[in-house]
Amino acid sequence: MGQEGLRLTAEGVLAKQAGEPLGADPLASLGSSLTLDQDCTLRSFFRCIEAYPDLIRLSPFSSTCLEEVARWPSSDCTTPRLRNLELMKRVELIGAPGERSLQIYCLFYGAGEEMDHDVKEFTYGELLDQPLSLGPLRHVVLGDTLDSLDFATSYTFFEVVDTIIWHLSFQGAPDKCTL
């Protein structure tokens, strides 16, 4: 029997699909597929991490991220440059010429009206209340990003935690440049 899927609510509560909240040990559910409620934001994600301290140990950057979250106001942390934050899986065939390889990895980025942005371009004060969603799997063949195909997919709880924290670990660009 497969693992029961999980649902993340806007309040940061991890619930089983039947509705009852997950118990105190989230580690056994890292392999479960996760869905996000429609009103989930990045703040919901961090509320979940705070609620389950064991998750902090998944990345050396989790505690730094939580410290950063605490520095910003508790609402209205958005930017008009972004429509929402999204995860995406990417399958990439590389090589020919060069050594042939296949990479499967997850991205976390800001979707804007006209173009996508790296989250490292923004402060937490612009990200925390942005809607958060799980995007498709994109298949890119031999580096041709213009001719790629999108597929519906699912994400495990671990993929979501690992991807978001990994990308946010690149935050920290100064916002007061330029002499």
Partner: protein
């Protein structure tokens, strides 16, 4: 302090932040700035065809093509060139890392400035491929000249630096990094933070370590820092020493952010490794990609001693 600055560039936006720092550094030291660009790798031996690093197209290395590339570079850095006049452009054909090293040597450069990547790449893939750009890896590994890596917009100009963090691990290469940081701090007149991260978790293979043991190791590291580094500082007292326990690259980044560092200086590989054999240390790679300020990788004493 620096008379000749070598700025290696592809002319792409990925090098813009490095360009700003390179011009600024040259201006402060009234140094000659050599903008160095590698046209591309010949498709086969003695071929006149190269693959252009920006367009990816095959081009014949004719005088016209060289002039066109030079003109493109001048357009790209027009504003900086107008504000500072002591510059020249050098073009070469070949493998970028080898040509940069050759140019640094033949021009007797005092410092090499470059970006972390030749093109913008998504950070997700850095988990699976070589983290830093291949050119940077090879240059930092073999350069006898300090290499200044700029991955983000620089917060302050070189002369306005207030805090320099030097990450040390008591290795020989670390000593050169320290000397570079110390001489830079003394020259600019800013505070020097001598930092060491004690990775006790890996030392004890994942076992739980008591607080008493941690404090003992930290005190031991502080004693070594005083012996190896602080004793070299004569009467310079604008410094402090910090030892934190944890994963080195995470702790250095945290420390640099806490101190609002303007520059991080590190030896480019882990301790007790032959510099000729060492690859770009994973600690430096992780720091370079995440640091909010430029990172100087110092591996050899050549240029540091005369600073």
């Amino acid at each position: 302090m620096f008379e000749r600055v070598l700025f290696a560039t592809t002319g792409s936006p990925a090098c813009d932040n490095a360009a700003k720092v390179a011009f600024d550094l040259a201006r402060v030291h009234e140094a000659h700035l050599m903008m160095f660009h590698v046209l591309g790798l010949p498709s086969h031996g003695y071929s006149q065809l190269v693959r252009d690093v920006r367009t990816g197209e095959e081009e014949e290395v004719s005088e016209d093509y060289r002039q066109w590339v030079e003109e493109e570079l001048k357009n790209t850095y027009e504003l900086q060139m107008q504000s500072y006049g002591k510059w020249s452009i050098q073009l070469a054909t070949g493998r970028p890392s080898r040509e940069i090293l050759r140019a640094a040597r033949s021009n007797n450069a005092d410092i090499v400035v470059l970006g972390a990547h030749t093109k913008d790449e998504d950070v997700a893939i850095t988990k699976y491929r070589a983290v830093a750009g291949n050119t940077l890896r090879k240059v930092a590994k073999s350069s006898r000249t300090p290499v200044l890596i700029v991955n983000r917009p620089c917060d302050t100009c070189w002369s306005y630096f207030s805090h320099i963090v030097v990450g040390v691990d008591m290795s020989k290469a670390s000593e050169y990094a320290f000397q570079f940081a110390y001489k830079t701090a003394r020259d600019v007149g800013c505070r020097l933070h001598v930092f060491h991260a004690a990775d006790l978790t890996s030392m004890y293979a994942g076992k739980e370590i008591g607080q008493e043991e941690i404090e003992k190791k930290i005190d031991e590291a502080k004693r070594k820092i005083n012996y190896h580094y602080i004793s070299q500082m004569d009467d310079y007292d604008n410094y402090d020493v910090e030892v934190w326990e944890g994963i080195p690259y995470v702790e250095i980044l945290k420390f640099a952010r806490a101190k609002e560092a303007d520059l991080i200086v590190m030896a480019h590989h882990a301790r007790d490794v032959d510099p000729e054999q060492a690859d770009l240390g994973s600690t430096v790679e992780q720091v370079v990609l995440r640091a909010a300020c430029p990172v100087a990788s110092v591996n050899h004493p050549d240029k540091v001693v005369d600073m």
